[in-house]
Amino acid sequence: MNRLTGADVLMRVYLGIFFFYLLAPLAVMAFATFNTSRFPTVTPWLGTTTQWFVALWNDRQMWQGLRSSFIVGAAVIAVSVPIGVAAAMLLDGVHKRARSLLYAVMVSPLLTPGVIIGISTLVFWDRLGVKGGLHLAVIGQSSFIIAYVMLMVSARLQRFDRTLEEAALDLGASHTQVFRKILFPYLRPAILAGAVLAFFQSFENYNTTLFTRGTETTLTVYIASKVRTGLTPAVNALALILIVVTILFAVGYEILRRRQKAKVAAA
């Protein structure tokens, strides 16, 4: 190890400051849950309590929001996964020139701001006489979440060995059998990861939901409205729970992804 130069020291200080900046706000938010102060803060510390978890548990609106978020998330999976898989297969099968155009249209929802997707969905379905609500939130969210699923399935499909398919067809398997016995099992990890990602994206969505929700309240909408009116550390309690769930989720997802990557590398 060389001697530390001035630049190295500066870099270390900068790294320290940066990670403090990144993580300290989350820690403050989490710790504020245990303060008896009615306004969530850590300064001054008025006393340690777990009462805000009880307050959260007794909040009926929170449960309703959670229920709505789960319903929407499940529906988004049901819509996005089949369409996403079909879109990936279609993209894989078309000719090169058509592919780049199709690809551009398919990823365009990912570059479109969420509020715009929400607004266009709202206006379009209003024209057809459909008002806002959870069903419209599902449609709005799916329009870009399908693209995520499509990208994940596409990535795996690109490495698919097509001779397997052709061999099966030559040996007299039907197209449906080939899909069920060869392609689907091969794609299953990507489909599973896509479903998980779809649920997560839906669960944390706010921008698209805001415009399509009608008078319904999902969990993110509930949190936002609570912060603006009627903020107590019960919101922090919810935030803390969500952070813990998110970390478990993120770690699980990363493990799944790496295992998949390792499998590919080994193959």
Binding site: F19, L22, I243
Partner: protein, 302 residues
């Protein structure tokens, strides 16, 4: 098409084309077209739609600029909000780039593998946490009686507490925090692919650090910089919750203006027109960056 049929047969091919068409036509393209069409109509009650008062007009777009007077330097409210949004989103993008670049360089090339892996984990965790919660964290910190003021007063840097949440400052701070990691990961991915030998060769030949970055690392990281800038700018320009929580009525964001036209003003055509303007702004920015950095769509959607 014949290739698809041979490979998948009729039922599966039809299912593929059918579902993809429902998605792209009914969920993506048509809603956008209907929104744009709607924005060229006057705001009429349902009974008068299609009647003699229903004609195409650009009034909803002109409304954004009505009352702009360069001679007296007066600007109407919606216009000010629009300019503030462009300016703010650009600032957030620039600050994110400057803050992230050294970290990304360190994680991708300098840190030993185990430490780099730990740092990436520490970056991933906040990245997965909901935007609203990340914003809420700053709402607590920047509160008048919050920890930031308490610490700064305690150390003696401040003489009396500051109202952080009354100007645009809080919005910029919160947005940078909320969207910065969308710059970080593309940068790390881009810098990681650089051949370290190039850097070492330059160093052996006596190039100072800043020259190495200017001539080798930054040109190589261009696609990552482009993706990061696009992500951060679009997210910031179209953010609703950050200005709603961390801003004040005097520092409204363009998304908030759109929301107000929709749900408080009950003027959907005007809201649609503003939404289209916002979309044009974002698409314009994306195209500008793609041209300047010479990157394609496939580099962006990874």
């Amino acid at each position: 098409m014949s290739d698809l049929l041979r490979r998948y047969g009729w039922p599966i091919t039809l299912f593929m084309i059918g579902t993809a068409a429902i998605w792209l036509v009914v969920m993506v393209v048509l809603p956008a077209l209907v929104m744009v069409e709607y924005s060229f109509h006057p705001n009429l009650p349902v009974t008068k739609r299609g009647g003699p008062e229903d004609y195409y007009t650009i009034a909803n777009y002109a409304a954004l600029f009505r009352g702009v007077d360069l001679a007296t330097w007066t600007f109407p409210n919606d216009f000010k909000v629009f300019v503030r949004t462009i300016w703010g989103a650009s600032l957030v993008t620039l600050v994110s780039l400057v803050v992230c670049y050294p970290i990304a360089w360190h994680v991708a090339k300098v840190a030993p593998p185990r430490r780099a892996a730990l740092m990436i984990l520490l970056l991933i965790i906040p990245f997965w946490i909901n935007e609203i919660l990340r914003t809420f964290a700053w709402y607590i910190i920047l509160a008048y009686q919050g920890p930031l003021n308490a610490v700064l007063l305690g150390v003696g840097i401040l003489e009396k507490p500051v109202r952080w949440l009354s100007g645009s400052g809080g919005v910029i701070i919160g947005m940078t925090y909320a969207f910065l990691l969308f710059m970080m990961f593309p940068l790390i991915n881009a810098i990681e692919t650089l051949d370290t030998n190039q850097v070492e060769a330059a160093r052996d030949l006596g190039a100072p650090t800043w020259q190495i970055h200017r001539r080798i690392v930054i040109p190589h990281a261009k696609p990552g910089i482009a993706v990061g800038c696009i992500m951060v700018f679009v997210l910031a320009a179209s953010s609703y919750i950050v200005p709603a929580l961390l801003g004040s009525p005097g520092t409204r964001w363009f998304t908030e203006t759109i929301y107000v036209w929709f749900f408080e003003g009950q003027d959907w055509p005007r809201g649609s027109a503003y939404a289209f303007i916002l979309l044009t702004l974002c698409v314009g920015f994306i195209m500008l960056v793609m041209r300047v950095f010479r990157v394609g769509l496939a580099d962006i959607a990874k």
